[in-house]
């Protein structure tokens, strides 16, 4: 009996340790845990061919969105939403930057992404790069991006649709969900700007 009891307790302790380890491993980092979520090194380009690296997101608070131009719904909507938020913020939003990073670098060349983004607003910078470098920023921000093959060689992308909010150190501060009410989104941006 005693052996069984010790064995059981050992199992319980082992399980507790595993659970604790699992908790820390899977916990999604939030603000106050710099250096993990979003950390990475990549070399990308903006629509004008200018360099974009992890350092680009430092120096000003920003919005970061991952999408692609062959996207009928979420991406044009989010871009238009961003334009509305900038309008609502007015002068208050001047320090705020915004980036649209493609998850489909094969089709979204710098020229394609530039035209696409700038047709909606001049406040958002389109970003693309080689598939390898885009994979690095996707992995840094733990973005879900998956190619879904369709007919005739066409494909669509499943992808994370939230807008990430970064503080002026380039660290994750929160998200704006897809189709979140404009008033809520603007309030989140005001808070982000107040911290900067």
């Amino acid at each position: 009996m005693r052996t069984i009891r010790i064995g059981l307790w050992a199992a319980v302790v082992a399980l507790a340790l595993i659970a604790t380890a699992a908790y820390f491993l899977v916990k999604v980092p939030g603000p106050g845990q710099p250096g993990t979520f979003g950390a990475g090194s990549y070399s990308l380009v903006d629509g004008n061919g200018g360099p974009v690296t992890e350092a680009t997101f430092k120096g000003a608070p920003s919005m970061l969105f991952f999408g692609y131009t062959h996207c009928p719904d979420v991406c044009p909507t989010t871009l238009s939403d961003m334009a509305v938020w900038f309008q609502e913020l007015g002068d208050e939003g001047k320090p705020l930057k915004a980036y649209f990073v493609t998850v489909d670098p094969e089709r979204d060349t710098p020229a394609v992404i530039k035209d696409y983004v700038s047709s909606v607003t001049d406040r958002v910078t389109g970003i693309t790069g080689t598939p390898e470098e885009i994979a690095k920023i996707i992995s840094a921000w733990r973005i879900y991006a998956k190619k879904v093959p369709g007919e005739d060689g066409e494909y669509t992308m499943d992808h994370t649709a939230s807008v990430f909010l970064l503080n002026s150190k380039g660290e994750f501060e929160g998200t704006i969900a897809y189709q979140e009410a404009s008033s809520v989104a603007v309030e989140k941006l005001r808070k982000l700007l107040a911290k900067a």
């Binding site: 009891r5 059981l8 307790w9 319980v12 399980l15 507790a16 659970a19 604790t20 699992a22 908790y23 899977v26 916990k27 999604v28 939030g30 131009t69 062959h70 996207c71 009928p72 719904d73 979420v74 044009p76 909507t77 871009l79 238009s80 939403d81 509305v84 394609v112 992404i113 035209d115 696409y116 047709s119 909606v120 879900y144 879904v148 369709g150 007919e151 005739d152 066409e154 669509t156 499943d158 992808h159 994370t160 649709a161 939230s162 998200t175 969900a177 897809y178 189709q179 979140e180 009410a181 404009s182």
Partner: protein, 193 residues
Amino acid sequence: MNKLSLGAAMGVSFLISAAGIAQAHDHAQRVGGSAMVMAQADAGDNKVAGMDMAAPVKLGDLEISGPFARATLPNQPVAGGYVTITNNGSAADRLVSVTSPAAAMVQIHEMAMEGDVMKMRELPDGLEIPAGQSVTLSPGGLHLMFMKLNGPFEQGSKVPVTLTFEKAGSVEVELPVMPANAEAPAGHDQMKM
């Protein structure tokens, strides 16, 4: 001893589920619209909202109302189209194919948010329109996916589509092109402000 072990085991499982919750929590986002099957009563307010809403197009027991498409952004070679299909009959029908001179390919898609991930899929078997119900294709959910566009969708223009149903046959409908972020057909207050 049994009680003690049980308590400890419960503590462990609590820790495990707490770990799960911690992960799920940050991803808990608004669940976007998937298939919206609404009661028929809703179809009526298209007429009330009026303005330049086109009258519903009838095809047998089916009524197609509230058509619109969204303007494309430059270099956006795909577009979304939306309609409400009401089945006044006593048997289900099915939208099986869609064609348009505006695009080389039109598919019936559903879009759904899984956590904060947008997932889009073709409905290879088409879309069932249950008897006595309305099915609304709307942004964030079901849509007609225009692929390989023959040209951009410009706001103010109209995109003709032919909808083919399993039982009712085919009908042509024109989709007025609304702004790129329009949420609903003209006559509804569509701007999210």
